[in-house]
Amino acid sequence: MKPDILERLLMDRALKRLDPDTEVLLTDYLANDPAAATQARELQETVQLASEVVRRPAPVVEMPTQIHHLVWRHRAEQVFALAASFVIGVGLTALVIHANPRRENVAAVNPPPLARIQPALVKNKIESLPFWSNQRIYLLASAAANSKENAQ
């Protein structure tokens, strides 16, 4: 058997991870190979000693035997997350509504057409504005609508 394959098998055997069939075959092989048998014994001793060292008992403390409080803690976390989401959602909605008032409300607070209030002032204003300005066109339209209403 190749030395590296033999070593791999001996390692797995020492670590108790060799399948039973292979172990039987390996035991037979070791019976006829004293050098390999020595190597196997050394590896086994090494692993045994290492196991003794790492398996020394850890400090013991009293642990809670109930798991229910963890389940309740998890549920409380879920409820808290839900409540937080709700509050954030309501807050954001209120912010959006506050920032964008409805169109009809905007129209309600708009002043009445200037032409209806003071026709003489409006006429002067129209003359003072540039010919194609938006404000002039708006004032003209308002004045026209006003005179139409008056005629009726």
Partner: protein
């Protein structure tokens, strides 16, 4: 919900001891180990829906515990320790056995990843597959790490005898 709580309780009864032992050897104090154990099972409660799909419960729990441990040390900006702290603070063997002391020294000198893998095999007796799951590495890597660790330990343990003889 009752059955889920029942299966978590069963997991806790079966594995909390060994998980606590694993954590306690890697924590500076028992209180931290207790906290991390609670965090581990809180994580289990959070992942209850995954329970039916878990094929290796021990490996799954050790994986979560290890993750919690890593997170704890990451918050403190320290590397994840192997059980070396515990080896240093553990009392001397009762019989003052030289070979045990030498082995303890040899394990402490192993590279962290070899030591961690070796401990999961020898201390917790996890299979290669379970260790691979816990450490999130291929089984071949687990095997080679274990072989390297045993090879190094054997080399260290045979050195003094050779020099004495």
């Amino acid at each position: 919900m009752q059955s889920e709580t029942g299966s978590i309780e069963q997991l806790y009864r079966q594995h909390s001891g060994e998980l606590y032992s694993y954590l306690a050897r890697r924590c500076p104090d028992t209180a931290t180990a207790g906290d991390l154990l609670q965090e581990t099972f809180l994580q289990v409660v959070r992942q209850t829906d995954q329970l039916p799909a878990v094929t290796m419960p021990r490996a799954w729990l050790f994986g979560i515990a290890r993750h919690m441990l890593a997170r704890h040390y990451r918050r403190q900006r320290d590397p994840l320790p192997v059980a070396q702290t515990w080896y240093e603070s553990a009392p001397e063997p009762a019989a003052k056995n030289d070979r045990l002391a030498a082995m303890r020294e040899a394990i402490r000198d192993l590279p962290a990843e070899l030591c961690d893998t070796l401990e999961l095999r020898l201390e917790q007796e996890l299979s290669y597959e379970e260790i691979a799951h816990v450490l999130d590495i291929p089984i071949g890597t687990v095997r080679s790490r274990l072989h390297n660790a045993v090879r190094q330990l054997r080399g260290t343990m045979t050195k003094p005898e050779e020099t004495n003889s």
